[in-house]
Symmetry: C2
Subunit: 534 residues, 2 copies
């Protein structure tokens, strides 16, 4: 499969405008085939955009001599750092109207370089946008506005080493710019893994995960990257520092938790001690089908409230199950997986299946043979999961509008919320395009007290106006989440696209504290301006 992680040392070309590797992109024929399934799309795909066709202005600032070999104004590099990888970003590139292209791109080799860049930028009123893998889908790495003399993208990916490993306590000091496969390759010889596999795993960095509070591999229990942080090192315009390596502490509010989720607006995370795990030796998975989605929700809640802690517990609604090939008869599918480095997990799977059956689910336990092929529905879903962003870009080339957004809410609100999103977002898409839209839902993470629904919206475009259609859909989605008091993001971060809704969600005392912290740490207001807080 083309989207398989290829590890470090790869020479595959990354796309400057779309997801991932260029050689994994659907070709024109595939694009056209997909487009034919969505009413109202273009007759043929938009051409793949070229940097040479962009009008890229001369940089408005010049790198200081001391940093000249760390900073480039190469147009191709600048274009590749102009935006993240939201649909909104992809379609703007396809339409030849990308966001503000940064004037400079810095690739610091070490923390000293980072501090020097921040110092220079503060003096020169240059906005600094920390940039990891560039996979933001919320406008997190794009400059909007006009308050700064110039814009510099601070690409951390040259700082990608695992610096120390503590095999006794299973943790490692890792530089923030390491992409997923790069850090895992360095941990593997020690028999350890961070085991954090967001959908963007290949194209996102540790620092990005930390700055956005990424949600990871596990569907239950500790899954947010926050839980795996032992210590953070942060460089701010007002000074640098690191928390102590501790398994836990009650000494004042957690210093790390202020920087986790700060999206580059309070400081640049340069490295972290991360908690690691042994690779699992025992695995078992199964899928369960449900004729009724409400019963499926009850089953998942019961499993989430048990202490079985499945590693995977993803519920696909009928549309999502059909799209990923996990079912074709209109049933919802629950993908269950257990894993352990300690003991067999078959009993846990059996108990989970009993709970699911008690709520009308149909499924059987499977043998725990590591070499056995996994359940076909599980396998189909996994493949689709990694391939999805590539297909999204193929659909974008056909002028379709694709939006994915996610949230979390307590169980008492989940059923109503999902219904409301389906109804209201589909209505907004219909109004914007004149064509019916598809709104699918899956639960990506579940908790004893609630769940994280993830929505995929597929709609026709309005040729040339795809951004406006997307904006209408996004506004409708944000509004319905807000009215249901569901968070504006569970793991995609707030960026610039979610800022207005995030501002409404944030409690007043914390807003005051965050404002004060921002002013203290970033007195010139150069750090990722526009995200988090004014």
């Amino acid at each position: 499969m083309r989207a398989t992680p290829s590890g470090p040392g790869t020479t595959r070309a990354r796309s400057w405008w779309g997801w991932g590797y260029t050689d994994a992109h659907p070709d024109d024929t595939e694009c056209a085939a997909m487009g034919a399934l969505v009413p109202g799309t273009l007759p043929r795909p938009l051409p793949v955009p070229r940097v040479a066709d962009l009008r890229i202005g001369r940089p408005r600032a010049t790198a200081p001599p001391a940093l000249a070999d760390r900073i480039t104004d190469d147009p191709g590099v600048r274009a590749a750092h102009a935006m993240g990888k939201a649909y909104r970003d992809v379609i703007r590139a396809l339409r030849g109207r990308p966001g503000r292209i940064p004037d400079l791109v810095a690739r610091p080799a070490d923390e000293r370089d980072v501090a020097d860049v921040l110092h220079w930028a503060g003096e020169q009123n240059v906005a600094v946008i920390p940039f990891g893998g560039g996979s933001s889908v919320v406008g997190g790495v794009e400059y909007r506005g006009d308050d700064h003399r110039a814009v510099l993208s601070l690409d951390l990916t040259s700082m990608d080493r695992v610096l120390e490993i503590d095999t006794v306590g299973r943790s490692a000091r890792i530089q923030a710019g390491a992409l997923g496969p790069v850090l895992e390759a360095q941990l593997r010889p020690h028999g350890l893994t961070l085991r954090h596999f967001p959908q963007s795993f290949e194209f996102s960095t540790l620092g990005g995960w930390l700055a956005t509070r990424a949600g990871g591999h596990y569907a239950t229990g500790r899954t947010h990257i926050d839980d795996f942080v032992q210590s953070l090192r942060v460089v701010t315009p007002a000074g640098a520092g690191e928390s102590w390596r501790l398994p836990a502490s009650g000494a004042g509010p957690s210093p790390d938790r202020l920087f986790l989720g700060s999206e580059g607006a309070l400081g640049v995370i340069t490295e972290a001690w991360m908690r690691l795990q042994e690779r699992p030796r025992f695995k078992a998975s199964a899928s369960v089908t449900f004729a009724d989605f409400g019963q499926a929700l009850d089953a998942v809640r019961t499993i989430a409230q048990s202490d079985l802690t499945p590693a995977n517990c993803r519920l696909l609604d009928a549309g999502e199950a059909r799209m990923s090939g996990a079912s074709h008869d209109g049933s919802a599918v629950l993908v269950l997986g257990f894993e352990s480095a300690t003991a067999p997990v078959d009993d846990r799977l059996t108990t989970a299946l009993e709970l699911a059956r008690a709520h009308g689910g149909k499924g059987r336990p499977r043998k725990t043979d590591p070499d056995a092929p996994v359940d076909a529905a599980v396998s189909a879903w996994r493949s689709a999961f990694l391939r999805m962003p590539y297909l999204r870009d193929g659909l974008a080339r056909m002028g379709a509008v694709v939006e994915t957004f996610e949230t979390a809410a307590t169980w008492d609100r989940v059923p109503t919320l999902i219904d409301a999103v389906r109804t209201e977002v589909a209505a907004a898409a219909l109004k914007a395009t004149g064509h019916p839209a598809t709104v699918n839902c899956r639960l990506t993470h579940v908790y004893p007290d609630g769940a994280a629904p993830y929505f995929t919206v597929l709609a026709a475009g309005r040729p040339g106006d795809e951004v406006a259609v997307w904006d209408d859909i996004k506004a409708a989605a944000s509004d319905v989440l807000h009215r249901h008091r569901a968070t504006i993001t569970h793991h995609h971060a707030t960026g610039r696209d979610h800022r207005p809704t995030y501002d409404l969600q944030r409690p007043h005392p914390f807003t005051l504290a965050l404002h004060a912290a921002k002013t203290a740490l970033d007195p010139h207001g150069i750090l990722n301006p526009g995200v988090l807080i004014a």
Copy 2:
């Protein structure tokens, strides 16, 4: 047993100067018997101190008329709010030299009262010390200094109701002033429990747990009160607000985590939505003995790094095991307990015992009969655990010095740290008193990447100078923890006693942010001055 939780509605008298209920205090004969075991203590116990013997000045401020029925200047009430319940507090009361007695004690009935008190105090430069159960052992509820016109203790215990229960998502909105037994009694009819049982359970409040990041029942996994918070409501001098009820969120840095551990210095936590659990139906426990403490540490680490997640996994060193009656032959004892509301836990206990035996431990699994008496060592340890603070006060009456302190460190540092604490703290106590001291250790909480050692120091006093001896021991303990980069507190909080060391441990960028937040939220500097930050 006298220290058994007695639930709400109790009419047992609370001690104003010592731990818990007066009727559970050791009598003179018991005190003398304990004192006889510690060389250099007094021949007979110090008398139980009386409020009538204190010189309590007239209050330096008068309650405003609107709050007159919520604020008292009764000397007995004021005396009972002067200090926490550290040894240092108890011995000062016994010696007739308590800390600064507050001028007024407020007992707000609702959040409006809290806001009104803060408003008035800000105008009048009156320091406000939030007060829950008053069980602080780190000088967390005591005014030190002279920058304020008067001091008001803000006792939250009249706000003690469970306001709402969500049985679907298992959570409840609980007022911050509810003591442990008071909140559990309100949850019990719904079959739910917060299951947070710190040693101070009977005498500490939800708000106190949250403000100090209390460590709770579970030895592994989610145990800090932080993990059970769904939403917090906070009143600050700059305004009030609450976070949304969410199972998880990636929208910006966690707003709750700034107030968790803020020890009343950033705002007053008035209520919280807390995640609840079903009561466990399956339990199994066992004890394992180890001739070698180093091997015991390895065994515990292996269990902590498995996914067995024992509810109890407390390792007692030989001295601690002897003191609690868990063993008498010089062996260390590992107390293991499993519990579940989902499925039997015998297999998990069996696997844990196998891991322990592989490191030289001796122990057998026990039957999971809920009516069967628990393992004798487990039972002895549990009784001693709840009785310990009462015995400490009895020893204080004999002029002995007792200090307990706790920390956490990564596994690579744990063995050296424990050795260093034993050696250096014992040396400091010997130097201060001329008598050899006992330093015992247990691990209260264990993590895949480290552990939380808890130390008990028992030393002779220096009649009349017990506070000075305690201060010397505290200084030695804080110094050795700091040098080993072990946190100054895992779950006791920083208060005023740990402030100097906490200041050294806190990362520079977070110090800047915290200063800024303090100024923004508490512009008059009235909230618990002296803790957390200047």
